[in-house]
Subunit: 95 residues, 10 copies
């Protein structure tokens, strides 16, 4: 089942630059891992913003929540979730 | 270049059912055509709404506009556009 | 899997009263049916409004969409969907 | 009488992790207690967010306020309340 | 129990003036009746708008809904409801 | 003349608890005083929130502003003001 | 006492042009009258919109409502009201 | 002096196609005229919408209003205006 | 040319009271100066808020910006600007 | 390809004035550079605000993002992006 997520990253201005750099590296690793596992299907940057739009594939909303909340930058994100389903006009098999 | 589009279809309550059915059939055909041409990359239904989230691939915003405004149901859609670009953490080649 | 839905019914002022009454009767029947099937878990009226808040149980977002769009009053509803999952602090077994 | 509540937990980034952990444990206990007393009827997590949707049963809005403001994380929550009543189409006896 | 209601009356521009005048007269009568019964505690006009702010007293949200939906102009109102409770600093006995 | 006020109290998380407690006690006293003077007609708590809805009676908007800005917690409030006037359908004499 | 009003005129597209023209002429006359009486202190057009920003002087909100609702185009206006009072830094005597 | 305008064209669904076509042709002519006169500096289409973003040059807001309200499609536009001024970092001479 | 400005003053809670008092005194002086120069035509307090609504007269938007950004409290203000022009129904000569 | 950007600069009140002054100088330099390269086509100040409206020319949204995120004040900006395309009624050759 697919979930559409808009993630707006809001780093506080007084964040420790070293800690932030480390979190971003960990986020990068975790994103790679989840993509290789087929759980993070698409990851696009929103042009001009520190934000991304992503599509996740999970068996349930519980599984989806576990994935999202495992992201190192999760506590700094404003998140909007939209549940998707297959569109009758889509030629893609999965959804 | 990728464009993220949220399309909310708003059919007026007094629309002619026959004309509507025809427009929907034409929309279906056009969507198929654009997907086969590789211009409409993804098409997902928003669960619980007469709405979809789509990803288009176009050479420019002018090309993108031409695609979108060619949709038979275009006059009945509330549309939000977000320009996307490749995310450094994405493993997908295209974007 | 659970879906939380806010349904705001917006009947056009020039709707045919007879047709409306029939749609409402059909909506009532369909709601009963879906509750008996265990798909529409909760149905509450929002006090002071022609609106309800409901919890649906479906295997997937596709199944959920099929349920919701089968409602006779669906074309007249403004709908907001929120995907739910089990809360670690909940004592309820299902979710 | 039933109250529908959306609780969005907003922990300040500079909160003391130890104090936060303790508050969360106390919140967990209090939630359990209120559920066992039949006052907190449903508690669902909003998928992808540090937020929940809950249904409370109270004799009055004063009783409801007393319950909600007794939650240890109450000072950190953005809260939206909707008063519910029995829906004529619902098969549930209580509401 | 008290309910705070903001009622914004939205008469369609093509409404029949005669029917509207009759509805307004009936609304006036119903408002008088509910005030005499002690159910409609306060009724104030919002200065400069075709809108009012009211306080209702009802035993439950179901009773409140029955009152509100009995108003002849109910189908033409945009309504916002806020459940109230006694404020510890208030000197009024009721609430 | 009547003013309708929604006051949402927003205490900063790092406020000094002692100073806050004192301000709240002073607020309580001031509210009592203004009610006894017939200037603060109604004071209701919004169920589930650190907020209240109030009705003030003042000779002018200048007098109203003087009252409101004299509240000890005034600097911490988000405030919305609505000027009210007598509703032709109201049975209350004052307004 | 002064009231600040934003008036956004929303003429339905199917309005009768003759009736509209007459209403606009009557509105013009009424505006002139109210200005000469010193009740409509300022009347400015919002650049680029069919809207105005105005300042009214009335003894009370009831008097203000009577003025505003006497405008021939009143039924077609979206209206926002803000109660004003004298600013301690203003050099104008009235307010 | 420069004015930034966002124009969202909202054609009613029941508009007469012939009349609309004529208005669009007239709009086209008027836009050309105003550009040649140096009053309509820039005119861009918003990708994916029946909307444009434009920059007008006018001696005053009155002159700007006269220009905008002379557009044949003006009655069908939702308009947002932003007054611009020269940015100290801009290399353009005019503004 | 006239500009309508809504200024909402947002003093951070941890501001130095001495520095704030000085800024407010300077703001008072600057407001007096600009009024005497005929640039700040009207200054009204919004009843019940730390906010004002003002009308400025400036030769251009650049001149207006220079005036507004010269205010000592400018960095603490949320500001909304509306360009005004003479209304054909206004009896005032200037605008 | 053209991108329309609204940049609202939000400097935290506790920012170091020296560091801020340096960032602003660097921003000025970078803006000059990008204008000379033909990438930052237009830069206008929003009258009355610490904000600007700009038009960027980039080969793709990726190139646009690289430009925008290279701005020294980028971390302090609230940004809204709108993809533009040539308007059929525009007399400008580029877009």
């Amino acid at each position: 089942m697919l979930f559409h997520v808009f993630m707006d990253v809001r780093i506080p201005h007084d964040a420790d630059p070293e800690k932030l750099k480390q979190l971003q590296a960990e986020e990068h690793e975790r994103a790679k891992e989840l993509q290789l596992q087929g759980k993070w299907l698409h990851l696009w940057r929103v042009a001009g913003k520190y934000a991304n739009i992503s599509i996740f594939d999970a068996e349930s909303s519980a599984g989806f929540h576990a994935i999202l909340s495992s992201l190192p930058l999760y506590p700094y994100m404003e998140i909007e979730v939209t549940a998707l389903c297959r569109h009758p006009g889509s030629l893609e098999s999965r959804a």
